[in-house]
Symmetry: C2
Subunit: 226 residues, 2 copies
DNA sequence: CGGACCCTTGATTCAGATCAACGAATGTGG
DNA sequence: CCACATTCGTTGATCTGAATCAAGGGTCCG
């Protein structure tokens, strides 16, 4: 299926938003749409076909698996996010859908050529990659020294921010895109500890759990941040 | 002091290596050399003057400090590495010299303009930033699930790789660029634990400590990796 | 010589992992 | 439609790896 940028929900936020109409059309010609449902894999670590993609809707996780088979979530991808490998010869990490998702997919070489031809696209990606780097370092800082309590609190706020349309203020009521197990894998703690911390926050009156995945931030100030 | 690229030790490895002679000269005109000694700060988080730099010699650490004053090392910078903020309005993290270091420093806007003018420079930075992102995620994976033993072992191998001239094979004998305390801050453990693990590895015959900072990798296969 | 670091080692404590059990929701096949 | 299995989350009891507390030695420097 080829791309239809006209109706794209991230038309003016994604990396390709910096392109002119004609440039975008040209890029669209080498891209394909792809739909994933929960748990489906977009890329696998080690794949020798370089590829990249822009996320149009849904959410993804970028993970690595250590020798003992334990999974670690390295990053989450939200709509308009860019993932993948343009230059390297192989994919570095696994990328899996957290829920139903829709993407534009490109081959690495095709996209690299577009970057060559449209310098503004390269610059947009540079900014975006720097943001990803900062996000990665933020997670590193969060999981480095903080207690389990602080990690879960930090993750809740971070997810509330991501769930909000307005970029600065967090949503007060939202659905977790992650299961308890995934939250645990992201924070480097166990499922049981995540569950206990959520129970504690609810007891303290900081949050309210609604259903399995729903969270209401009743009083974020009560969350114990680092 | 203005730049003298002719004698630059990272002349053909740094980001600016992709530029032609004339382009490089032009960039050199807006850059300054700076020397730091151990502990000196290059950038401070929150500084509103965007700036960036290429490291010519020595080593740097990129750190953040949490509310309780605990420092977390987010990344190490080795010669030819690029650091800083070209676009954003302020510096995101602290950058401090681990030992004597020499750099080329640029103002954010000046460098951003160079990126605008020389698209290859932007592409080189994009690659480099992606590498930094992968390095950050590697550290995230290392500090996420692994035991203290595995973290220290992983850090030793990583530093051995960085100390080697050949990019793939680790050095068998090298000096740690970090104190025990800094190693601990990077790995999210305590000084005492780092010390104990090094003692353990030496007892096991995996390494030999020479002086305070020297490490011989006697039998890396004995190191307990994740 | 005295002070300031930095590293090592030992004793004790504690946060979170592990082990275990259970309930709710969802799916499957008879 | 019901019996059954499976997955996911919660909660409790126990155990352990690493933090914390404490002490001492080595080295550099004024």
């Amino acid at each position: 299926m080829s791309l239809s940028c006209a109706t794209c929900p991230v038309r003016d936020r994604a990396a390709c938003a910096v392109l002119s109409e004609e440039e975008r059309d040209e890029l669209a010609r080498v891209g394909r749409t792809r739909k994933l449902s929960r748990g489906e894999t977009l890329f696998s670590a080690g794949e020798s076909e370089a590829a990249c993609a822009t996320l149009k809707s849904g959410a993804l996780k970028i993970t690595s698996t250590d020798i003992d088979g334990r999974e670690r979530i390295l990053s989450l991808v939200h709509p308009s996010g860019f993932i993948g490998e343009m230059f390297g010869p192989y994919m570095r990490h696994d990328v899996v859908a957290l829920g139903d998702a829709e993407l534009c997919v490109f081959s690495g070489p095709n996209f690299a050529e577009a970057v060559n031809r449209f310098p503004r696209l390269g610059q947009a990606l540079l900014r975006r990659t720097q943001e990803d780097l900062y996000a990665s370092r933020e997670l590193l800082a969060l999981t480095g020294n903080a207690s389990a309590e602080q990690r879960v609190a930090g993750a809740l706020l971070s997810l509330a921010r991501a769930a909000s349309d307005s970029p600065c203020h967090p949503a007060t009521s939202f659905e977790l895109p992650l299961s308890r197990g995934e939250l645990a894998d992201m924070l480097g703690i166990t499922i049981e500890t995540v569950s206990r911390m959520l129970t504690r926050f609810e007891k303290d009156g900081a949050i309210k759990r609604t259903g399995k995945r729903g969270i209401d931030l009743v009083d974020p100030a009560l969350l114990p941040l680092s």
